[in-house]
Symmetry: C2
Subunit: 335 residues, 2 copies
């Protein structure tokens, strides 16, 4: 199978953006111009057993929740509001009816909590793996969608929440820890919950979009380093981020201080599936971000600046080092 | 795993139709009211290796084409126009780059031929089977979407094209015949092509929708008998169809006359994946159907009438026999 990034670059060539398609393949979601002052937002995200999750460690309710969350996060990253969802699911033999019930329960819980209506879907059997594909349709005011391409030199780089816990949670799950196991401690539960039940930053994404405050935005699904690279690639500029400024999750700091071999900064830089928002802001709008923070349900941290060129560099104790995109790439395209 | 029809009835209860959702789970596609005189149509359809196709007999270009076609057919069955598509695909190890390229080639060919823009998607690896999930967004004039629920006693029942060839083609493929094999005869190629490369009835569906001519409509994916049952269930009435009137495909008639054990009528009644349109028309509109036929690219045949009750009955040589829905049900929901 060809590299996923190769497929997407070929697809982008095939599917040129024209007419009412304002943003096509290659951003968090597509944007379509509608008559009547609104733009339509559309995205889909696939979760495949053995690739994105293992059914032995992902409780079905959380799995259903997350399958929708990753799409809601994409819509949030466009500064838009999710409205409708469709769910396609293929179920291998041996899955009990309760598993499927719980999975849908999680999906509907997240849909209800975020004001999204489930309008359709498809279900099939499958030979071996469980497969969940969710499509979400959303909307925003005409011309307000935030893409990856608007960052300009001088812009400040912000990230919501804290980072690293999802990747830590994943490695704990891989090591045999379980959410309901007796072998877990509180920081481990926090990290695993972060991986299994991320929160979409809907309120923040919408507020940034409606206020026109973000010049570029993406959700952190592949990791801060890789996702910032996506913004730099699309915007045609470079960035410097400051090691000291990166908001490392408390559970990660605590694990790193106890356990050898855990590099907290590396987890925060490269860990994927955070579903925090990464966005850039014009320097003159920094005060408005501070105001937004007051009414926001999530922390916002300035982690660096957009510069003319030089790719992505990490400033640590006064010296700069290049950062390659090291987040894992199992997903691509509109994600 | 619970029965698919059970899952859908539970989902329909969870996802009640309210507000701007005019049609939710359980029709060929969902219908959403938009400001500005248009309704939005949305559907998705899953194709799973080993369930819906086998990669050893489905050329990848035709597979890509069909993955989109089955969705276009759903949009046509709503009397609407498809506009945009998203493609999610999970590819197991061992699939060559050319296979994926050809699959996308088929998808884009069908998209271009039908005026549909590919706006996004997702790609993943998978452990074992190839999965393709396509979502399509379309539109129609406000209030013009044709559902399964508008059939009334006295309405005439029509079907487009001819029936039975897809099921015959599938059984030939299962018996080892191949599209490019030397062991095939012309009728076999015709039947297998019908199964592997069905045509969406876009022009007809749109014309029926825009003219307000169909009181209920569905595409034949599960088989004439099962899909007519869907209309009867949703519309709360019965139907009589006439054995002599059912348009049996030429390849099916020809095979049935040569081969023992092939029941041509049964194939036409119960064979799925035809993607012909099945619709009902008020008796006073029959003349308008005749006019439509002149400009249509496909045959239309009156096969029966909607009656008050009595389920679905087949009239054969003057006597009536009940018909159970016997089409296969591997897909459900919005399909």
């Amino acid at each position: 199978m060809p590299e996923e990034s190769e497929i997407i670059s070929r697809l982008r060539k095939l599917a040129r953006v024209t007419g009412e398609v304002l943003v096509g393949i290659g951003d968090d979601a597509a944007v379509i111009s509608l008559p009547g002052g609104k733009d339509l937002i559309a995205c889909c995200d696939l979760m495949v057993e053995g690739v994105h999750f293992r059914s032995e460690w992902a409780p079905p309710r959380l799995l259903g929740r997350k399958a929708l969350t990753v799409n809601l996060s994409d819509v949030a990253a466009m500064g838009a509001i999710p409205k409708f969802a469709m769910i396609s699911i293929a179920v291998p033999p041996g899955f009990r009816a309760e598993f499927i019930d719980d999975l849908y329960k999680g999906l509907f819980e997240m849909a209800n909590a975020s004001g999204v209506k489930i309008i359709g879907g498809d279900t099939s059997s499958s030979r071996d793996s469980l497969f969940i594909d969710v499509s979400v349709i959303g909307e925003c005011e005409s011309g307000r969608a935030v893409t990856r391409r608007g960052a300009r030199p001088g812009d400040r780089i912000y990230v919501s929440g804290s980072l690293g816990a999802s990747a830590l949670g994943l490695s704990l799950l891989e090591d045999g820890f379980r959410l309901d196991g007796s072998n877990v401690v509180s920081d481990a539960i926090r990290a695993m919950s972060r991986h299994l039940a991320p929160e979409p930053r809907l309120q923040l994404g919408r507020a940034l979009g409606e206020a026109g405050l973000a010049t570029a935005m993406i959700d952190i699904s592949d990791g801060l380093s890789t996702d910032l690279w996506h913004i730099l690639d699309e915007s045609g500029c470079g960035a410097i981020i400051h090691a000291d400024a990166i908001p490392i999750a408390k559970s990660v700091r605590s694990f790193a201080s106890d356990a050898q071999g855990i590099d907290a900064l590396r987890l925060a830089l490269d860990g994927g599936e955070e579903y925090e928002l990464l966005f850039t802001v014009r320097p003159e709008d920094e005060r408005r971000i501070a105001e937004l923070l007051i009414s926001s349900d999530v922390a916002l941290t300035a982690v660096g600046e957009i510069v003319e060129r030089g790719g992505l560099q990490l400033e640590r104790e006064g010296s700069l080092e290049p950062v390659q995109p090291a987040g894992y790439e199992h997903r691509f395209g509109v994600k």
